[in-house]
Amino acid sequence: MSNELIKQKLTEKFGEQLTGWEEQFGLLTFSAPAELNLKVVQFLYDDETLRFRFLTDLTGVHYPDRKGEEICVVYHLHNLIDNIRLRFKVYVPSEKPDVYSLSQRFSGANWMERETYDFFGVNFIGHPNLIRILNMDEMDYFPMRKEYEMEDPTRRDKDNEMFGR
């Protein structure tokens, strides 16, 4: 099975809704609308030739400069039978970061989604127990969002530029 075949199958099913196709370092990547993520995962899982039935990784990225789609949730799926990987992303605005939860499909998504909620504040709809996992419960902010100074803002000798930002 090749990346072209996966792309062809997905475009047949979802048409123009899937965008941002690219292949960096041989890994097929695309973006899907946030409300479609469960359908895409279910299709990749159920299809007899695609068989992406292993959730390798689930995490978030914050792009403060992309207005209206600041938070990105990244899924890495793996077809263990044909040994091929795939990455897909959904973008949501940081004011309303609602994404459907995968925890019904993959038990392993439970903690990965809790971690993503903990650090990026993504609201996973349908998650059985969406609470903080690594940080303390009293925390009232999402630390991995790029909203904070890299260094103590009162210091004059170090600014973000020094850290390559």
Binding site: V61, W111, P143
Partner: protein, 416 residues
């Protein structure tokens, strides 16, 4: 009391329950039999575990956030502290991720040296896990035997990089210095001595009736559930799935080596123990093959002997100190690397290695700056530890303790 009863309403006691009420047991955070700092709040009926709720995050150190302001070569020390029982694998995984981003080709000899380091680390990791299963079942002696061998592995690491546990071994492009003669002598001594210790260890436990009775059937998981949970590594193989990143997506020339993937059937404590034992033997054979390959290269191309990093990685590999003081170019590179003036290319990359506990993935997004835009570690422990409640619920409390040690949950990797 009333509140407690309300909270426990979802728990249905069986007919045989003698006490007719459950007890809340707080296992951890610093219980001597939990390896690292994590807590389990258990509901037990007599000795039977009805429900367990793990709490994690006690040693969370925000590595992913710290990595966003560090240059690439300084992130190696963060990876040390993920699975600190086999930090060389984490270090190498990180170097290979960066090398893939920079499109650097590594000379074969360095790749084989890396394989040796990684397999030694895997042996050390599995030895800790398996001997500690023995300790938790009441057999302290095997533990003291194999820790001697673990010590020998750490001496080899010490000879190569100067440190033992958090090794910071290797650099982007190769190693920080060449392997000394003494390191090969120590390695050869280890290869002759260790099989005896390992055989003794296996004789003590593998068919020991008390040990087998204690482990068989404890904390099982089916292959289907294990895959659904995203379990990888020896714990997945114990359930009967032969997925190994070294074979599925070979890195560092693993495709040239001849080795087997041990698998189990039921995914219980005993299978996990046996799979790890099998992997130790396979790792030993891989090290021997790698040594042979290195000797062959050194015989054919004697000049290769002095090369310990890829020349094309010049911009990212700190030059040797004596060159910095005597050569202009080396001084410039040293200055640029230390001052963080060297930018990495843009790119998005996922690279995985077979860590001691399973697929250790690095998801790296570079925006063309000196440090990653985002770096995410796919930590196998974090993902498979969530299956723990399902494995122990319905079993005995003592089984829960052995299951925990057989999963080899390392707090550093769990909490990042």
């Amino acid at each position: 009391m009333e509140l407690q009863q309300q909270q426990q309403q979802h728990i249905k006691l069986s007919e045989e329950s003698l006490q007719k009420q459950t007890t809340t047991l707080n296992l951890g955070p610093t219980h001597p039999a939990t390896h690292g700092v994590f807590q389990n709040i258990m509901e037990i009926d007599g000795e039977r575990v009805l429900e367990t709720v793990p709490t994690i995050g006690y040693i969370h150190r925000a590595f992913e956030k710290i990595a966003e302001r560090r240059p690439f070569y300084q992130i190696t020390t963060l990876t040390d502290r993920l699975n600190y029982c086999s930090s060389p694998i984490n270090n190498m995984g990180w170097h290979m991720t960066v090398e893939k981003l920079l499109k650097i080709n590594i000379p074969k000899r360095i790749q084989y040296l890396r394989v040796i380091i990684m397999e030694l680390a895997r042996i050390a990791d599995h030895l800790v896990c398996n001997s500690v299963i023995g300790v938790d079942t009441g057999a302290l002696t095997p533990f003291t035997y194999v820790f001697q061998s673990r010590e020998h592995i750490y001496e080899i690491f010490e000879e190569i990089c100067g440190s033992r546990l958090t090794t910071n071994i290797g650099r982007v492009g190769g190693f920080e210095r060449n392997f000394s003669e003494a390191s090969f002598t120590k390695l050869n001594k280890f290869l002759t001595d260790f099989p005896k210790t390992m055989t003794e260890f296996e004789n003590l436990l593998n068919r020991n009736k008390i040990f087998v009775d204690r482990c068989v059937g404890a904390g099982p998981i089916s292959a289907e559930r294990a895959l659904n949970y995203g379990i990888t590594g020896p714990n997945l193989r114990a359930a009967g799935v032969d997925y190994d990143v070294r074979v599925a997506q070979p890195y560092s020339s693993y495709e040239e080596f001849d080795f087997k993937i041990p698998v189990g059937t039921t995914g219980d404590v005993y299978d996990r123990f046996m799979v790890r034992n099998g992997e130790i033997w396979e790792s030993l054979s891989i090290i021997r093959q790698a040594l042979e390959k290195i000797q062959k290269i050194e015989k054919e191309f004697p000049e290769q002997k002095n090369i310990y990093y890829a020349q094309e990685a010049d911009h990212f590999h700190l030059p040797p100190k004596e060159d910095v003081y005597t050569k202009m170019e080396a001084l410039i590179y040293h200055f640029k690397i230390i001052m963080g003036e060297i930018d990495a290319p843009k790119g998005e990359i996922y690279h995985a290695v077979e860590g001691g506990n399973g697929e250790l993935g690095f998801y790296l997004i570079s925006d063309g700056g000196r440090s990653p835009y985002r770096l995410h570690f796919r930590r196998p422990c974090f993902i498979y530890y969530q299956a723990y409640p399902e494995m122990v619920e319905g079993g005995l409390l003592s089984d829960a303790v052995v299951t925990l040690s057989s999963l080899n949950v390392i707090a550093g990797e769990l909490d990042a």
